[in-house]
Amino acid sequence: MKKVPYRNRISKVLGVSLIIFLLFSLSLYSQEETVAENAEVVAEDGAANASAGDPAKGKSLFNQNCAACHALNRKMTGPALANVESRLAEEEGLDKEWLYAWIKNSPGMIKSGDAYSVKIYNEYNQAAMTAFPTLSNQDIDDILAYTAAPPPEAAPVAAAAATDTAGSTGSSGISNEILLGALAVIFGLLVLMLFLVNSTLRRIAEANGVVLEKEKAEKRTPIWKAFAQNQFLVLVTVIFLLLGSAYFAYGWMMQVGVDQGYAPIQPIHYSHKIHAGDNKIECKYCHSSARVSKHSGIPSLNVCMNCHKSIYEYKGNPEGPSKEDLADGYTNEFYTGEIKKLYKAVGWDEENQRYTGESQPVEWVRIHNLPDFAYFNHSQHVSVAGIECQTCHGPVEEMEIMYQYSPLTMGWCIECHRETNVKVEGNEYYAKIHAELSKKYGVDQLTAAQMGGLECGKCHY
């Protein structure tokens, strides 16, 4: 089984390398200043160009309304919009008024037979653009201002921020180091002093003619011999040794086949942290069959493409990748590369925004391997019992690399069945049996075990 090396080893390496980072921090600080200056310059330029609109406002409007189908510099469902105003004016001779009309009511324009409208409609697979009658002309101006002069990329800023935090944590690390070092020196001195005192005392004793009782001691039988001669002691020791080794052997054998913590390397680096954690996507949005089937199901690639048709690159958190991520190589480029892997597998042609039909199913490495003789049904637990996925799968929303959180042993199953109450509210199926059984056992709430959840045949057949 392939495993990702323990993460804390990485953090150790990181800790050591912090000192080296410190050495470079000065130069990085200076870099940050220059970047910030550049950004200001660009922003000013943009403001000058589109006098009518506010690009900052435009950006937020763009992200709210347009980004699902348009990007600035690449084709998506709709055309790239960078400098769309000037492009249209130069190439097609269409003014702003045309754009106002188009954005507010594109289907109407197509219907009316406007030449360019029809052309663009056909060019993009007759995917009709949503009409935005609510946008005012000022709003559109703002958006156009943004498309004409997009704010600078946030990446360098993020990088700087990262180093900033690295610097601060680095300083606290050093203070710890110093403390520890001082302690070690003190201890060393103490040991040395003890030695010196000892040898001094010895010399004094010799000088005073005191005979140490070493000789006497040597006459006695050595302790190991005495031990070997005492058969009872030997027997007890052997028994203890055997019991001890049996205990450890049992412990070792019990973990055979238990793959808790198993975190294989997957063909596509899929981050549950980003999807379920940062973006708060509901688990069952992708693992939809968990609601109705025994399998939770690995989502088919068309499910991925529901979102990734428009999310073609990873832009990271607003703060940028953390130092840990950077150390692992989880840069934005890295994630974008993984999205490209998805495109390759599903056969998505980004250029032309269509499927090529050449697909290659992804061979995920299965993490949770329940043996064939154990029957487990997700829908029973997810839909009927309403158990959170995290109860068994752990904090998936924090897992950069998915791993097996629970041991998945029978003892673990049974433990939970003993402790968990059956969720009977509003389920007519349970009405009668719950009333009767709870009376029989004299409890208000029945556990799964009392309901028969410990019977062999419930899981083994």
Binding site: D259, F373, C456, G457
Partner: protein, 1047 residues
């Protein structure tokens, strides 16, 4: 003191001068040991530098390396769809309604698919006609995954592209147009409106086209008789639920008589209701399933059956005919008396292969005005015309046939005159056969078109007039195959798929405005207006209609005359000397199409309980006369003599013999469907080919029998034939007693001694009872009156629970794995009742009524015994003996009543099997999957696709048994929980209860007051198997009631 004894191995050693002694002294092994043989190449051996020590080092190292490598768990891949089909959710089964129509079996069925793989056949309960899947239909899903299937078209045995095949055929067909040579189509019975229309269009296009329908096992006599009388080539339909008296002359209507499917209706009338049930009298030669279920069975040879039938007609008609039928005369008189009491409620059927007999039966039923008889909406499940088949072969040999296209038939195997056919096909310019497998016919044809399995095909049928059903594919073609109709459309240059063609046909001729999607969803469509004539699909309908009216006018007069002459010729029937051989299809094998299906090969015949074989059934008297024996040998197997059969100069040697109680003296039986060789795995090449004796397509032949040397080894799963007077195993009573006496008398609860008092066994208990009144408590009811022993449940259980096939050798060693067996018992005296009396009256060890001799006698079945069937699966005892002896607690009890078996916990001590009073536990002696020694479906990737993913595939060394289909009850419960509702009666099903078309097996929750099974549990007829053992089973039986009312 030293002994002077001299030990010697042979006398020669006593003589010191003998040369043998010297030789043995020098050479311990007299025969030279073939060292070279097992060491292999000698030169190679001497050249190698590896010495013994090195070798051991290598072995040690590789063992250590292997065990180290094994410490790593395997990496399992999980590969999701790229684009998941909307209808498929992994882990959730989909059901599709479709139809099987392979020329022998016609049934509307549901197919359960998992992740797109068909894995199980279920009955389509919406279908009023043909909704019952028999054992062969249940098993047909496995034939889809037959690893020996043809994977692409062939030309003269060499793989070829479809384009090349199509081009070749099309060119040849084109050149035949107007050449004077015929194009012949030799096909199975389709009963398909769309195929009929397509064939008509094909005929129109190519002109001189003969379409010959061919049934391997012909019903030509019945078809001809019906045609003569009613003007349509079809079969009369019977509804046995409406009959109070059923009289059958050799008609095995519970099996495959005229296409079968009558067991459901029959069983309805057999369950005593309001003190009434039907009475069934069977005159027959072979002991058939139908005869075994009859209230009265009269063994008669086919010749005498004809005479008896003639006599019946005469007696009902008030005339008289000659002929002697011996003791049967009395039975016949009783029948006549009973019929006359209520003519409309009686029905007479016959399976005699004779147009006269069939005509007479039609006449009798009309004369009686039988309510069960239906000639208005006949059945089309057999269309074969033997005359046309013979003509075709003659034409082929005369060189008049230019092209022969075959589909769904294997004439080289099924024709008695296969040699003529082989000669003829050489003179045909173009021969094409559509076949799923390489077989006897594909060997001699030019083109072999690899055909679809029915689960990959589109189609439609009209099995009964006005009752349509649709066939839809449940999986994409597994291989490069095509169905016949699609190819025909292609050859005709029609640019339309067969699916569209069917829609067109249905839209125009069938649906009459009804919704196609609904018809496809239901799988069936019934024409609401019975008057509407669906046969309008045929072009020349009007002309036929005119013919009909003309015929009807003259019918009344001339038919009376023809019936009279038919009766006369029946009465004068002679056997032609010698023994009469009656050929019949076995329930498991049918016409032999699915001979490559291991489930069916291992399926024990309901009557003889023999699997993996066909055999000749001989009456005990005849066997003694010829010197034929059945004997049990030391390892528990059954052996039988061989005979040589000769019919009209054609002989088959080494046919094994089964001495069959109830076989009419002077007759022998042999089943079709076995003896296939070509394209079969060697394990499946079982039995002898009876078609060679099927001369003139007549199932009755005059035969001479000679004993052959040697003994045949059978794989028989039930060696003990009788009940030995233990009437509490199968409780029986007569309708009269049932109606008049208290149930304590005919459903006697056994007593045991408690404190020296006799108390009912049900009141005594070793254990404290667990309160099972809360939640579900599953019980299964088996009605011995409704059970016909057909065995559909056995195969359904096989499919649902991944039961392995173990092969003939292992079955012979009693290592069969069926979770559900159907025990068959014969009475030793004439009735079981007399057996019980005999046993009761034993007095002392020896003497007249001594038990020593008496029990010996009870082991032998009577010459014409009563027969009883009893399905036995795990009885799920509430106080199970198996559970208390398991040292590892691998088998335990659930509160819902199931006796549960945790395979992963089982260590294989087999204590449980030994302590089980019902002997239902099965031990996995070997690993039956991925094992070349058991090269059946679980040994190849294709065959494994049929496995049910919800049920464990057991490994070697564990016990397994019926689980009451816990995976199905669990699923039902989960569905209800998810939907937040209570469970309705009928939702709980097991594989056997849902497969049971007679309603004999009913499953459900007894804690549900309104459920059917709760009502059945309270019935007076209810009893538990071996009640006196005190196991408190959750499976119960219903006392078998026989209607012995003579008048």
């Amino acid at each position: 003191m030293a002994s002077n004894k001299k030990y010697w191995k042979s006398e020669a050693e006593l003589n010191p001068n003998d040369s043998i002694v010297e030789a043995l002294k020098q050479n311990e092994f007299v025969e030279e040991i073939p060292v070279d043989d097992f060491l292999g190449d000698k030169e190679n051996l001497s050249a190698t530098t590896t010495n013994r020590r090195d070798f051991l080092k290598y072995v040690g190292f590789s063992t250590a390396a292997a065990s180290l490598a094994a410490c790593q768990g395997p990496v399992r891949k999980s590969i999701p769809y790229v684009v998941q089909p909307e209808t498929i959710v992994p882990g959730v089964a989909n059901y599709y309604a479709t139809t099987i129509a392979n020329g022998f079996d016609f049934a509307s069925i549901l197919i359960k698919t998992r992740e797109g793989r068909p894995i199980k056949v279920e009955n389509n309960t919406d279908a009023k006609v043909g909704g019952n899947a028999n054992a062969r239909v249940q098993a047909s899903v496995l034939s889809l995954y037959d690893s020996t299937r043809l994977q692409g078209p062939l030309a003269n045995g060499e793989p070829v592209e479809w384009d090349a095949l199509n081009a070749g055929v099309r060119a040849k067909l084109g050149s035949l147009k107007g050449s004077g040579k015929k194009i012949a189509l030799l096909t199975q019975t389709y009963a398909s409106p769309s195929t009929s229309r397509l064939l008509e269009e094909f005929k129109e296009m190519y002109g001189d086209v003969d379409h010959v329908a061919y049934d391997a096992i012909s019903e030509d006599a019945a078809l001809t008789a019906f045609e003569n009388r009613y003007g349509e080539r079809a079969l009369a339909d019977y509804d046995f639920s409406k009959a109070d008296l059923i009289v059958s002359f050799g008609a095995d209507f519970l099996a495959d008589w005229q296409g079968g499917g009558y067991d459901g209706g029959y069983a309805k009338g057999r369950i005593p209701k309001n003190g009434k049930m039907s009475r069934h009298i069977q005159f027959e030669a072979n002991m058939s399933l139908t005869g075994a279920n009859a209230d009265k069975r009269v063994p008669l040879t086919p010749m005498l059956q004809k005479v008896a039938l003639a006599k019946l007609y005469a007696k009902l008609n008030g005339t008289s005919v000659g002929g002697e039928i011996g003791d049967a005369e009395q039975a016949l008189d009783a029948v006549v008396a009973q019929i006359k009491k209520n003519t409309g409620n009686a029905v007479v059927v016959t399976g005699i292969d004779d147009v006269n007999a069939q005509s007479v039966v039609l006449a009798i039923n009309e004369m009686l005005g039988s309510k069960a008889f239906d000639s208005k909406s006949p059945k089309y499940s057999r269309q074969g015309n033997t005359k046309s088949v013979n003509e075709l072969i003659a034409n082929m040999n005369a060189g008049k046939v230019g092209a022969l296209i075959m589909d769904g038939v294997n004439p080289m195997y099924t024709l008695p005159n296969a040699a003529d056919f082989a000669g003829g096909i050489e003179k045909v310019d173009l021969s094409v056969v559509f076949s799923t497998n390489w077989n006897e016919t594909t060997e001699v044809t030019q083109y072999t078109a690899a055909a679809n399995h029915f689960l990959e095909s589109w189609g439609d049928t009209q099995v009964k007039k006005g009752h349509y059903s649709l066939m839809q594919p449940t999986i994409q073609e597994l291989f490069d195959t095509k169905q016949f109709q699609a190819s025909l459309l292609e050859w005709m240059g029609r640019d339309i798929s067969y699916y569209d063609y069917i829609r067109e046909t249905w839209g125009t001729f069938v649906l009459n405005g009804a919704d196609w999607n609904k018809a496809l969803h239901d799988g069936i469509f019934v024409v609401s207006n019975e008057v509407a004539d669906p046969e309008n699909t045929m072009g020349q309908q009007d002309k036929e209609a005119e013919d009909d009216t003309m015929m009807e006018e003259s019918a009344s007069g001339s038919s009376m005359e023809s019936i009279a002459s038919a009766v006369r010729s029946l009465a004068n029937a002679t056997s032609g000397g010698g023994m009469e051989l009656v050929l019949y299809p076995k329930i498991g094998m049918g016409d032999g199409q699915q001979a490559n299906n291991p489930w069916l090969q291992e399926f024990p015949d309901p009557i003889t309980r023999v699997s993996w074989d066909n055999y000749i059934t001989v009456s005990k008297a005849d066997a003694e006369q010829i010197g034929l024996v059945n004997e049990h040998v030391a390892n528990g197997g059954l052996d039988g003599s061989y005979v040589k059969l000769t019919v009209n100069g054609v002989s088959i040697d080494r046919v094994p013999v089964i001495v069959q109680p109830g076989q009419a003296k002077g007759s022998v039986g042999l089943s079709f469907g076995y003896g296939r060789k070509v394209g079969m795995k060697s394990e499946m090449q079982t039995g002898v080919n009876a078609y060679a004796l099927y001369q003139n397509f007549n199932s009755v032949q005059s035969v001479t029998i000679e004993k052959s040397p040697g003994m045949h080894e059978f794989a028989c799963v039930q060696l003990h034939k009788t009940l030995m007077g233990r009437g509490d195993i199968i409780k029986e009573t007569t309708l009269e007693i049932f109606n008049t006496k208290d149930h304590a008398e005919w459903n006697y609860v056994p007593v045991v001694s408690l404190n020296h008092q006799e108390v009912p066994a049900t009141t005594v208990d070793l254990w404290d009872s667990f309160d099972r009144s809360i939640g579900h408590h599953f019980n299964m009811s088996i009605d011995l009156n409704a059970c016909t022993g057909c065995g559909a449940c056995v195969i359904a259980c096989h499919a649902e629970n991944n039961v392995p096939v173990v092969g003939k050798r292992e079955v012979r060693l009693s290592r069969d794995m069926h979770w559900l067996r159907i025990d068959r018992y014969y009475s030793s005296e004439d009735t079981f009742e007399e057996d019980n009396t005999k046993k009761e009256e034993f007095d002392g060890l020896s003497g007249e009524k001594g038990s020593l001799g008496g029990f010996g006698e009870l082991e032998d079945p009577a010459a014409n015994p009563q027969v009883a069937f009893q399905p036995v699966m795990c009885q799920h005892c509430n106080h199970a003996p198996c559970e208390t002896v398991c040292p590892v607690a691998a088998t335990s009890h659930g509160r819902q009543g199931q006796n549960q078996m945790a395979y992963n916990r089982c260590v294989g001590t087999r204590y449980c099997a030994n302590n089980c009073p019902y002997k239902v536990r099965r031990f996995n002696w070997f690993l039956y999957n991925n094992n070349d020694e058991f090269d059946y479906y679980m040994n190849n990737d294709l065959g494994k696709m049929v496995l049910n993913p919800d049920v464990n595939v057991r490994s070697r060394g564990v016990i397994e048994k019926c689980s009451l289909c816990i995976q199905k009850t669990q699923k039902t419960i989960l569905d209800a929980k998810r939907e937040g509702r209570t469970i309705q009666d009928g939702e709980f099903q097991t594989a056997c209860s849902s497969a049971c078309s007679t309603g004999a097996i009913v499953f459900g929750d007894v804690n549900d007051e309104d459920s059917e099974v709760a009502a059945l549990a309270k019935s007076d007829r209810m009893y538990h198997l071996l009640e006196h053992v005190g196991t408190k089973p959750n499976v119960f039986y219903h006392v078998k009631v026989r209607n012995t009312n003579e008048a």
